[in-house]
Amino acid sequence: MNILVILRAVQDPNGFTVNRRAQKVFVNREQFIINPSDKNALEAALSLATESDTVVAVALGDAPGEDALRQARAMGAGRALLVRDATLQNADATVVAAALRHLVNHLDETKLVLLGAEVLDADLAQVGPRLAAVLDWPFIEGAQQLEIHGSTIAAIAPQPDGFHKLEADLPAVVSVAPDSNQPRYAPGAKIINVYKDKHAVETHTPADLQLTEADLTPITEVRGESFPPERELGERLEGSPDELARQVAEVIRKI
């Protein structure tokens, strides 16, 4: 079967600093990394795949997405697909879900879609459940460990009272918790070969996948950036020991 892994390329947090006073983001070095929990999803896919399965890495957008896909091939993904369109780089969740739905239909034998449960730079934790809703597939959120038995997938995932074992019939969509595994390093020879290979990443346009204008019309837009207040350091809490303890407990609870 095909195991699809959705990769998002995000700006490397080590490449910029946020200045709260100036209310600005200063980009020191523009570079992109694979969204960390997507890397965990890729690792989960590579561990789950048997000899007869193909891990297909998928990304939407442009050059950063293409680089993410090359990294995935070097790590061991059998195929990589880029839906190339600049507007898809920062698309809203409904557009992403629509594009992914068309991709899933395009790729026969897809029985599992994995993606990270959090995206560093956008409000995209909703993509997984949206995709599952539109495909009418079961959705498991925040999986820590995954196992496939025949045509069933089992996952350990957090619930309000602790970790539960959840199970669903394939095909299914599963979001993978950040830091739930240690993504493997890509062997050097694979990196050299994949990056030299023009055909390592297959490219499609939205038209190739029959995406309509309605599919590509966002219903959420980013109207700006805002910043947390400057940290006020050096505040001393006052009061009796008991009062101090109460105040500290309150601060802690708010985190």
Partner: protein
């Protein structure tokens, strides 16, 4: 002129950097303290191809060329010079001499295991009486029937205690001396008569084991001659020439690490009511460090480009090693000064870097020898042949 690294080299550097930060940096202090490497980490490095970076994929190498190898050395030295030295001796001079001049059969016999790190190589040239005067080598190789018998001793051999295959220079025809009558042999550590000494106690590079090697009538089959009988000195000099480039790359990493540490410190340390970053004396030190590192980096990667493109590089390689070792020592020393007493503390990584860097001006051809190499190339260009 395109000064950008190729996409594959950028991607390779990223993988190596992640690996070094995750796996090597947390262990570096302990490696220095105990002298022991974590075999699991070395095994992982081997699996990722780090023990065969410049060698062709045909022989099990990574196929990343001299540039890829320089990237590896730079990234390793940023984090753990001891590991850099093990890898450098293994790839840069040990396996390299086999790669440059070995027959296809001999290469097929050893390269796959060497490239995957399953076997470690060493380069055995130096002897008690043959340091800078490499031609003073006296280890004897006597031919009897199908085998040579090696007898003598090598000293200060990096990877000596751990190497599986030791490329050894021995005199096969004393009448011609080392220059015309020496041969390189691939010696396996299990062969009777071969015995490494105990690891030397050194000022730095504690995690890089070094020892003397005893050869007591070690029987080496004829097939294990690397290159041509009698031309071993040429093979070894060629190997040392190319080895210098990656050494230079390592010093880029070490110097940059020192500058990075200094930059982190000056933005948090205050004295006299302000950050020391605002003091000109500190700013001048940082500027000098950065300028030297930038020049060194350009020199090193340009020389790697010369190697990868089949152009002459001996003079530039000597410059890489000469300037690199001196610049790295200077930068690390300045960074230590900027940190004040903290730089002197063993709980802080700078003093380890300072101790590790000192050997740079000595091994793999002292800086005095490098100057002779560079002068020799220069003068040849104007028609003067000098004798070392």
């Amino acid at each position: 002129m395109d000064f950008t690294f190729s996409p594959e080299h950028i991607a390779l550097r990223r993988m190596i950097r992640e690996f070094c930060e995750e796996e090597l940096r947390p262990r570096a202090k302990e490696v220095d303290r105990t002298g022991q490497q974590d075999p699991e980490v070395l095994r992982k490095m081997g699996e990722l191809g780090m023990f065969g970076v410049p060698f062709s994929q045909e022989y099990g190498g990574m196929g990343a060329g001299e540039t890829g190898y320089c990237i590896l050395m730079e990234e390793l030295d940023r984090v753990c010079p001891s590991t850099t030295t093990i890898v450098g001796a293994h790839i840069g001079i040990g396996t390299m001499s086999l790669y440059l001049d070995g027959s296809p059969e001999l290469k097929r016999k050893y390269l796959p295991a060497l490239c995957s790190g399953k076997k470690i190589a060493a380069f055995a040239l130096t002897e008690a009486n043959a340091g800078s005067d490499a031609a003073g080598v006296q280890l004897r190789a006597t031919l009897e029937g199908d085998s040579y018998f090696l007898d003598g001793q090598k000293m200060w051999i990096t990877n000596g205690p751990i190497a599986d295959v030791i490329m050894t220079l021995a005199v096969t025809d004393p009448s011609l001396g080392a220059r015309g009558g020496a041969t390189v042999f691939a010696v396996e550590k299990e062969w009777p008569g071969f015995q490494p000494g105990k690891p030397e106690k050194k000022m730095g590079l504690h995690g890089s084991p070094t020892s003397l090697l005893n050869f007591d009538e070690v029987r080496v089959p004829k097939e294990n001659v690397v290159g041509q009988v009698g031309l071993g000195f040429v093979t070894f000099m060629k190997t040392l020439d190319i080895g210098r480039v990656s050494l230079g790359a390592a010093t880029v990493g070490g110097a940059q690490a020192a500058l990075d540490a200094a930059l982190r410190w000056v933005k948090v340390r205050s004295q006299f009511g302000r950050l020391i970053a605002h003091m000109q004396s500190i700013q001048f030190m940082l500027a000098d460090m950065a300028a030297e590192i930038e020049a060194l980096r350009s020199l090193v990667y340009r020389t790697a480009w010369l190697v990868d493109n089949g152009k002459p590089f001996i003079k530039e390689a000597g410059m890489c090693k000469l300037l690199g070792s001196e610049i790295a020592s200077r930068c690390i020393d300045r960074a230590l000064q900027i940190h004040g007493a903290l730089g002197f503390s063993r709980d802080f990584p700078l003093e380890r870097g300072w101790r590790d860097a000192r050997i740079g001006e000595i091994f793999e051809g002292t800086n005095e020898i490098q100057r002779i190499v560079i002068a020799s190339e220069l003068l040849q260009e104007v028609g003067v042949r000098i004798r070392p």
